[in-house]
């Protein structure tokens, strides 16, 4: 079986993470921000699995499941909030969601 070296997985993971981070920093749409956070989480998951595999340690798997579970919960609540905000205001630009700021 063709085995890719660990660094390849990590490069993909880091790239995904960077994409996610930049997305969080520069985009304004709440849905997009949300998706970017998911990308970052999954980048981390990828790194976990890669390390787990290469070190023959199942701890990484456990963490990955953990992250997936947390991400699922987060997605549930986050999407609910977003849907409600959209119903309420008909827009999702985070810069304008400043009712609780002052």
């Amino acid at each position: 079986m063709l085995t890719l070296p660990l660094s390849w997985y990590l490069i993909v993971s880091a790239t995904l993470f960077a994409i996610g981070t930049v997305g969080v920093l520069v985009r304004r749409n709440a849905i997009v921000l949300f998706m970017c956070v998911e990308i970052m989480l999954n980048a981390a998951n990828l790194a976990f699995i890669a390390f787990s595999r290469f070190h023959h340690d199942h701890g990484g798997h456990v963490f990955a499941f953990m992250v997936i579970a947390v991400a699922a919960a987060e997605a549930g609540i986050g999407l609910a909030i977003i849907v409600n905000v959209f119903r309420h205001r008909r827009e999702l630009n985070v810069d304008d969601l400043n009712l609780m700021r002052h």
């Binding site: 981070t21 969080v24 920093l25 520069v26 985070v94 810069d95 400043n98 609780m100 700021r101 002052h102």
Partner: protein, 663 residues
């Protein structure tokens, strides 16, 4: 054994404390008769127990020393505290010196409690008064019975508190409350010196129990005494500063004349008979230690002589009958310090005892007059009271005789004469520093002044024509029995108390009445260095003759000036001019203190207020902290603007920095 000890020694101070507790907490709700019974009863029982204890001690005495050596009856209540090598027991010891003191305190105390019951009957603070007075007796008994300096100091502070409370007893009157504060603060100055002395003494000897200090002193070699002399002198002088506060000597005597703001029986008990003699007691108690420093003793005697003289001159110009007695007390305390300063510790205690009787008598007599005259204290408005108050007049007259040292039949004669003799004696600590003759001369002169101002007060009060207004004259009355009985008892004591100290030159001591022999085991060690009771009799006759002559001169002058209405006092005042004004204004000492120490303290206070409190604490610390927080808040608020993405950017930035640092 332990039980007997408790009954005999433990209860003596405890009973007045219980009396104070009951009267202080429940007194307001009890009938007056019960309050008085409680107060007088606790003191009387305490006096009986003291008599029994002293009797037991004397019965167990064995021949030795100058007569007998008596066992020290000790009672240790409990270990008070213990830290490192310092171990302080709440322990009482009864030895001959304490015996004399507790008999004076409980005996005179009982009489004065009884007298107070009559004097204070109308006062709304009746029970409060007795609670304070009983508390005072408790503290004073702790002071004289304590077997170490810490218990002594507890009593020392306790009597200070009691004195403060009683001077300011009528606290609605601002002047009287201020007099209480003055007494307390002045005493605190002296007490601070005592504390320093205690520290140094503990460092030097490793203990504060009298027995330990005594054995430490007895183990000193001559070389050690020479090397440690400076430190010992410092300790002695620090204790003496404490004594100048408590016993009203220059420079801290200023509180005692003002202390007359308190009720008259208080002046009799606290400011004449007992508390103010605490300093003399302290020096007598530590006589073996003070004897190591002849220099300190000479200082004590000189200060005593100066105080005696200054106070006596002021006493000659006062018109308030209680002020005369107050300055007289300061003056007589000076005499006691001349005695202990000469190294004649026994004589100091002897005069302390006779003074307690005749001065308490005089104060109670003046109280009786004030009571009869409806709180008039100015002697210019008295006169001719002998007709209205025969008992008071007769007993007051006896008191005057005693304090003036009328020869052979009064106690004051014997005690004052011994003081003069020992000051003159060429073996005393004073002669090493060449001040013996000076002290003797001043003391002799003061003895004459004493006779003068005391008889002046007698003549102005009791003889001649009454100068009070008609309304007061109609109401002048002799005091009730509760007040005159103590006067009579004290008058007898003022006459006979001197027979316990009849000098050799007059064929003494009388068998079984030798106070010197009684006290020898306590003070003899220090005394032996400086005195010799078999001294050249010429000194005895010289000092005695001088004292008798000058006493009569003083009495004669008082008779001439004040016996009949005469123009002499006015003429003398005219002639003395400035000197009289100086003395009349009490040498401007209060003004001097106000201008120097008072002003310095005020400036210090102002500095602390304006610079330290208002500027440093309020502005820099309190408001400074507030403005710093506000400033930081304003600065940091810029980062927390609610922009989610900026937060995220900061997080990324932070993570980046951490990563950089890690790699």
């Amino acid at each position: 054994m332990e039980t007997t000890n408790f009954v005999l020694r433990g209860l003596i101070p405890l009973l007045p404390a219980l009396g104070a507790l009951i009267n202080g907490t429940l007194g307001g709700r009890l009938p007056k008769a019960l309050v008085a019974l409680n107060a007088v009863g606790s003191m009387a029982t305490s006096f009986l127990l003291a008599l029994v204890s002293v009797g037991v001690m004397i019965a167990r005495g064995e021949p030795g020393g100058h007569g007998h050596v008596y066992p020290e009856l000790a009672y240790k209540a409990f270990t008070w505290f213990s830290a490192g090598s310092l171990n302080v027991d709440f322990g009482f010891t009864l030895d001959p010196l304490s015996a004399v003191m507790i008999l004076i305190i409980t005996g005179v105390g009982t009489l004065i409690h009884l007298y107070s019951a009559g004097y204070m009957w109308e006062d709304p603070g009746f029970s409060r008064y007795f609670a304070y007075l009983n508390f005072f007796c408790f503290a004073m008994l702790c002071l004289v019975l304590g077997d170490n300096l810490v218990v002594l100091f507890l009593g020392w502070e306790g009597v200070g508190v009691a004195s403060y409370l009683l001077i300011g007893f009528w606290y609605e009157d601002e002047e009287k409350a201020a007099a209480g504060k003055k007494a307390f603060i002045t005493n605190r100055v002296g007490d601070f010196a005592v504390i320093l002395g205690l520290f140094l003494l503990f460092q030097l000897t490793g203990s504060l129990a009298f027995a330990d200090i005594k054995s430490w002193v007895s183990m000193l070699s001559y070389e050690q005494v020479a090397t440690l002399n400076g430190l010992i002198t410092v300790i002695c002088l620090l204790f003496f500063v404490g004594c100048t506060g408590k016993s009203a000597q220059i420079p801290l005597y200023v509180w005692l004349p003002d202390a007359m703001a308190g009720p008259t029986p208080v002046s009799a008990l606290i400011h004449a008979a007992t508390m103010v003699t605490a300093g003399v007691y302290l020096i007598a108690r530590l006589s073996f230690f003070f004897a190591l420093s002849p220099f300190a003793l000479a200082v004590i005697a000189v200060v005593g002589a100066l105080t005696a003289f200054f106070a006596a001159t002021i006493g000659c110009t006062q018109y308030d009958i209680k002020k005369v007695l107050a300055y007289s007390t300061v003056s007589q305390l000076g005499f006691m310090f001349i005695a202990v300063g000469s190294g004649a510790f026994f004589v100091g205690v002897f005069h302390l005892m006779t003074h307690a009787f005749f001065k308490a008598l005089l104060f109670l007599g003046s109280g009786s007059v004030i009571h009869g005259m409806h709180h008039e204290q100015d002697m210019r408005k008295m006169g001719g009271l002998r007709k209205h108050m025969p008992i008071t007049a007769a007993t007051y007259f006896i008191g005057c005789l005693a304090i003036a040292g009328f020869p052979f039949i009064t106690s004051g004669f014997y005690s004052k004469d011994e003081i003069l003799w020992f000051a003159l004696s060429n073996q005393s600590a004073l002669h090493a520093y060449g001040v013996g003759t000076f002290v003797f001369a001043v003391a002799l002169l003061t003895a004459g002044l004493t006779a003068f101002y005391m008889f002046r007060s007698y003549f102005m009060t009791f003889s001649g024509e009454c100068r009070a207004d008609a309304h007061t004259q109609a109401h002048i009355h002799e005091s009730p029995l509760t007040m005159t009985v103590p006067l009579m008892v004290l008058a007898v004591l003022a006459l006979v108390a001197g027979f316990v100290g009849v000098p050799h030159a007059l064929g003494g001591p009388i068998p079984f009445l030798d106070m010197h022999g009684f006290l020898y085991q306590v003070v003899g060690e220090g005394e032996a260095l400086f005195t010799n009771r078999f001294d050249n009799p010429n000194y005895v006759y010289a000092s005695m003759g001088g004292a008798i002559v000058i006493g009569f001169v003083g009495m004669g002058a008082a008779w001439m000036f004040y016996g009949e209405p005469s123009g002499v006092p006015a003429a003398v005042v005219e002639r003395l001019g400035r000197v009289h004004r100086l003395i009349d204004n009490k040498y401007y000492v209060d003004e001097l203190y106000a201008a120097t120490i008072g002003r310095a303290v005020r400036w210090g206070g102002l500095f602390l207020h304006r610079v330290v409190d208002v500027f440093m604490i309020d502005q820099v610390l309190v408001q400074g902290t507030a403005s710093l927080t506000a400033f930081l808040g304003t600065a940091l608020r810029q980062f927390q603007n609610g922009d989610l993405q900026r937060y995220a950017a900061f997080i990324v930035f932070g993570v980046g920095i951490i990563l950089l640092l890690l790699l």
